[in-house]
């Protein structure tokens, strides 16, 4: 018993830190509900949901997060698949490329995309040089640029969980299906894809939340022309010291994220449970 209480002591510093974190989160909730004179009010929420500007930012963020997640899945699944099912050389190259992404600084990655997508970027210079365009095509400071940046930076979040699951799925199942006469595509759709469902679900959750709450990507590649809810929260809190409005927007963002996480997870549980039966 004494041994146990001494062990609990070791957790103390970590729990204290997490306690501060939860106190800070509670502070966000409190600021969103408290008027300057300390009374309970829903004014900040009314301000967020009553203003088309904020509602649009929320809907815009939801929309771009949905399709960026879908595209990340379509582009990321083949990478995860090839890392576990492809040649060893491919696995090495893919691991290296993803490690470069992982170790590169997020700001620098987005800066790199600005050099690719900008008016003076490599794509526009190529278009102008080959005569395919007479004037630079607008590829950033709009939704397209933000979407590209989000997908590129979220891709590892999609690939890593799927790869982790696929590495542990025995290839015997796929070989058995092939042996029974299924085509390669049918094996993929009927065997490999369902077996990787747990990884796909966590990849989707991670990617969606990352995209939905992004700040840096829309700030640089949107350039103020495409504002997501993260930008609204930052502008209100840091630019205008309007903490209660920022807090209400943040609480709404967190609530929406949680609803999405829970519904994806319960949908996934039902899907997996249905198959187990």
């Amino acid at each position: 018993m004494r041994h146990r209480s001494r062990l609990a002591l070791l957790l103390g510093p970590s729990l204290l830190l997490v306690g501060v974190f939860f106190a800070a989160l509670a502070g966000v909730l409190a600021s969103s509900f408290l008027a300057p004179d300390g009374t309970l009010t829903f004014r900040s929420y009314a301000a967020v949901f009553g203003d088309e500007y904020y509602v649009r930012a929320l809907l815009r963020s939801l929309w771009i997060a949905c399709y960026a997640t879908a595209i990340s899945f379509v582009l990321g699944y083949p990478i995860a698949y090839m890392m576990s099912r492809g040649s060893r050389r491919f696995a090495t190259i893919a691991t290296l490329a993803l490690a470069i992404q992982f170790f590169s600084i997020y700001v620098i990655k987005m800066y790199g995309w600005m050099l690719v997508l900008g008016n003076n970027g490599i794509i526009n210079r190529a278009l102008l040089a080959t005569g395919l365009a007479d004037a630079p095509v607008k590829l950033m400071y709009n939704e397209f640029g933000v979407a590209v940046g989000l997908i590129a930076s979220a891709l590892p979040l999609m690939v890593f969980p799927i790869n982790a699951v696929l590495q542990n799925v025995s290839r015997r199942y796929e070989e058995a299906a092939l042996g029974l006469g299924a085509s390669r595509w049918r094996v993929l759709l009927a065997v490999t894809l369902p077996l990787s469902a747990p990884g796909i679900l966590s990849g989707i959750v991670l990617t969606f939340v990352f995209c939905f709450t992004a700040y840096l990507t829309p700030a640089l590649l949107g350039g103020g022309f495409y504002k997501m809810i993260g930008n609204v929260i930052y502008d209100q809190a840091v630019g205008r010291f309007n903490y209660s409005l920022a807090a209400a927007a943040a609480a709404a963002t967190l609530a929406i994220s949680l609803v999405v996480i829970v519904s994806i997870n319960s949908f996934g549980q039902r899907l997996l449970g249905a198959r187990a039966r």
């Binding site: 800070a24 502070g27 699944y77 790199g112 600005m114 891709l155 595509w185």
Partner: protein
């Protein structure tokens, strides 16, 4: 035992291989271009470079804020990495060695900073420091970064402790060593590479962090925040040069870590 690889004529492999290779190339290309643009001769940040020069590298050292930010980021990453490694080890010991009710619950609590979006963590700490009291920018950021890196450190050390046979430690205690001494002398040396990976992971995470940090530091800030403000105001190749130096530094760092513990264990 070698796993039998499917035949190359497999359509799925051809299509997926092509998609995967194209996507990996596309996400790596901006970084390669960034390096090339650092050597531009004029203030246009373009690829291919319009002539070659090293002037943007020397320009970095005329930008006081980049140098200061680099040292702030390094100190912060080092301090929060060390702190996370220490707290993470203490926490991991309890989570692997003791069984008590609510252990998974505590594990969930410790992992919670990974689940909450960065903008919300940033805002929470901003309001927290505004309402209470800010100590100094460094300590404010240290608390934030330790919280952000602690989940990784705890998880990594926990995984490495789980692989160690607790019998050895019990044997040392049976032979008369104190519990603390047997942990430090027997278990800790075996978990050495795990501790190192925890520190390394925390260091990188802290050094890279932008979003939560940006809420606390707008001027005289960490390197990523400083780079952000520079990009926001001008687009000469100085940032490309900074990026190139950072990438070279990171590569060196990864190679050293690879020699020490093997990079497979990190990613």
């Amino acid at each position: 035992m070698m796993q039998r690889r499917p035949a190359f004529g497999d359509q799925v492999h051809v299509v997926f291989g092509a998609v995967a290779a194209a996507v990996l190339f596309l996400i790596t290309m901006p970084l390669i271009i960034t390096v090339f643009t650092a050597f531009n001769a004029t203030s246009q940040t373009v690829f291919p470079p319009n002539g070659w020069s090293l002037r943007w590298f020397s320009n970095i050292f005329r930008q006081r804020e980049f140098i200061d930010a680099f040292w702030l980021s390094t100190a912060l990453a080092f301090a929060s990495g060390a702190l996370s490694m220490l707290l993470g080890t203490l926490g991991a010991v309890v989570l692997t060695r003791a069984s008590f009710r609510g252990r998974e619950w505590i594990d969930g609590l410790l992992m919670s900073p990974l689940i909450v979006p960065q903008v919300i963590i940033g805002l929470a700490f901003l309001i927290f420091y505004v309402k209470l009291k800010s100590w100094s920018q460094f300590l404010d950021l240290l608390l934030l970064h330790t919280l952000l890196t602690l989940p990784y450190a705890t998880r990594v050390v926990r995984a490495s402790l789980a692989r160690i046979n607790p019998r050895l430690e019990e044997a040392a205690i049976g032979l008369g060593a104190s519990a603390a001494a047997s942990f430090v002398r027997i278990t800790l040396p075996q978990a050495r590479s795990g501790l190192f990976v925890a520190f390394f992971f925390s260091f990188v995470t802290s050094f890279d962090n932008f979003t939560a940090t940006a809420f606390l530091a707008s001027k005289g800030a960490t390197l990523p925040v400083e780079i952000f403000f520079y990009i926001d105001s001008q687009l000469d190749p100085t940032v490309s040069a900074v990026a190139t130096l950072l990438m070279a530094g990171t590569t060196l760092f990864v190679l050293v870590v690879d020699r020490l513990v093997g990079v497979q264990r990190v990613t």
